[in-house]
Symmetry: C2
Amino acid sequence: MRNVAVVGAGMTKFGEMWGQSLRDLALEASLAAVNDAAVHARDLEAVYVGNMSGGGFASQEHVGALLADRLGLQVPAVRLEAACASGSVAFRNAYLAVASGRYDLVLVNGVEKMTDIKTDEASSVLMSAGDDEWESSIGLTFAGQYALLARAHMNKFGTTREQLAAVSVTNHKNAVGNKHAQFPFPVTLDAVMRAPLVADPLRLLDCSPITDGSAAVIIASENIAKRFASPVWILASEQGADTIALHDRTSLTEMQSAKVAGKRAFETAGLAQKDIDVAELHDCFSINEIMNLEDLGFCKKGEGGAFVEQGHVGIDGDLPVNTAGGLKAIGHPVGATGVRQITDIVRQLRGKAANQVKGAKTGLSLNIGGAGATAVVNILSSEMV
Amino acid sequence: MRNVAVVGAGMTKFGEMWGQSLRDLALEASLAAVNDAAVHARDLEAVYVGNMSGGGFASQEHVGALLADRLGLQVPAVRLEAACASGSVAFRNAYLAVASGRYDLVLVNGVEKMTDIKTDEASSVLMSAGDDEWESSIGLTFAGQYALLARAHMNKFGTTREQLAAVSVTNHKNAVGNKHAQFPFPVTLDAVMRAPLVADPLRLLDCSPITDGSAAVIIASENIAKRFASPVWILASEQGADTIALHDRTSLTEMQSAKVAGKRAFETAGLAQKDIDVAELHDCFSINEIMNLEDLGFCKKGEGGAFVEQGHVGIDGDLPVNTAGGLKAIGHPVGATGVRQITDIVRQLRGKAANQVKGAKTGLSLNIGGAGATAVVNILSSEMV
């Protein structure tokens, strides 16, 4: 397998983008990545799109072909889906295609247009990432699933309501000044604690929002990437799995998918947790960032809540996490998030982030699909190892 | 890139499978492929699923994770979508992942469960493969799109209604005795000519049906594949593109996607049209098989109708096409079709097909997405070239 690097990255504003359709968003982010890389769109050899439910949210499937068409390209285009990890599985399969030798320069886009249908309909579409026969058909929602995980974590490890809230407080703080963020403002611990209950123990400010948006990166094979000023190398892109239904798991307080993907990614990259300078974790609900930290081995199982509360994940902590605001404050257009995470890691590794982590050379992203049936861990570095 | 072969293939019966859900179908086909290959499911390293709209047809996205889960596997699983070419893009990306060196043994499944919603709803879901802003939202259907292509072809080249009908007659004849086929019976030219009009000039018996079903293949890297009795080698898997909306095309009588994918596939395989012993073409509507024959260079542009009418594509012709019945008679579970085509080519190249083409060594499949925005051409051979 050949070495592969990210040579361009871009994104749209995330939010309720009433004036932009699915295709508008995907096109804008893609052109931002093209401009950032300073390549010609006509040199792109393939288009990989991560999109969870263009059909459900926007009556549009065949999104890969649609984006290639809008870019004026007649190249192989495909959409990949693994629920909220759709962006990362698109990135990973594009990476494998370039690593295979088949392509040298490929566009990866993640996109979702979620706000054109009613909120209860959007909730149903989202829950189609769960188990239709055993979960969604009897009324379980994603907030409900993560509430079960949160309650189990609290019961087993004594994780507190305040620790959950600390996740949202930290991520919102990081979003201040992020012009791409849906909610670029701080929230207080008190505000999170008093927010309306969505699914006990999760409150409104524990939950990432419904969002329109798109992000894109351009990846290149080693020989091509070396011609660029600041390629960001893909040291590992690994995927893990867990059962789709929660009731099939032996534990509700960990995700096998994240554990396995993380373990493999560290092995492939030849790195350990201490080598990660900055991370993007999947805070779709506050509890998940806590579980992510534990499952990736950044702290011991059960200690994720305290790890956050003690400030380790803050911008000045040992492991700055979600330095641009995370899913909670930037927003979570589900198919876009995995690519957006990489976009923000790339900014950090180039030394160009708004909340720059000084000297950041190596970054990690973890993108979760559903309630953990899919997980993808990417490790990127400004230096080829 | 490494050589890759198909080492196992299987499928469910295609039809209105009221007793089987999306997951049941995908699992049955996958286990059939596992049994055919005589491998252990636990040795599969990844799962690639082609599925157009699990969300739209069956309220179930995250189909890759779902199938892996049902197989008892915790391996990287992903769904790929390119409308009716979803099965082939799953196959192609799995092929690239194995060729890259990342995996040695991978499952590719194609599946669609289409009959649990009303026919008009299914028609809307299908049309989400077109251009939502310019085509589907103003009422164009897939039958309508292909009717436009058929009328253009008739006007420009004098293609006759009888020639369109000859496609269906030939494919239905081939399906007789196919226990997997939705419609394993012959139809007469007269029956096609008198069938109810769907979208002028296309009649009911020009149109592939709405179908439930799944097909699966197992692919392996060269060193692994050589241990199997009859590996079928993937000589080429190439993808082409055309505009998603018909009004953006310079010609309605050809698909750039099929032309480019075909040209690249023949170049990659180092073969010419005369080397193909058996082909699977995309007869979603009768006109499309005629256009496919021309776009792949099996006959001159405009002569596809006569080529079919003269019997060249019959089981005893120079180029037997859709020898198991095609989309028309086997049925067209949209995400499954691309994989089903490969399953039937594999049967032919092993010499085990019901309608066996004597001495068939090299086969081709062409799978079209939408009205041609995506096309994938695979060339397979019983001999490694």
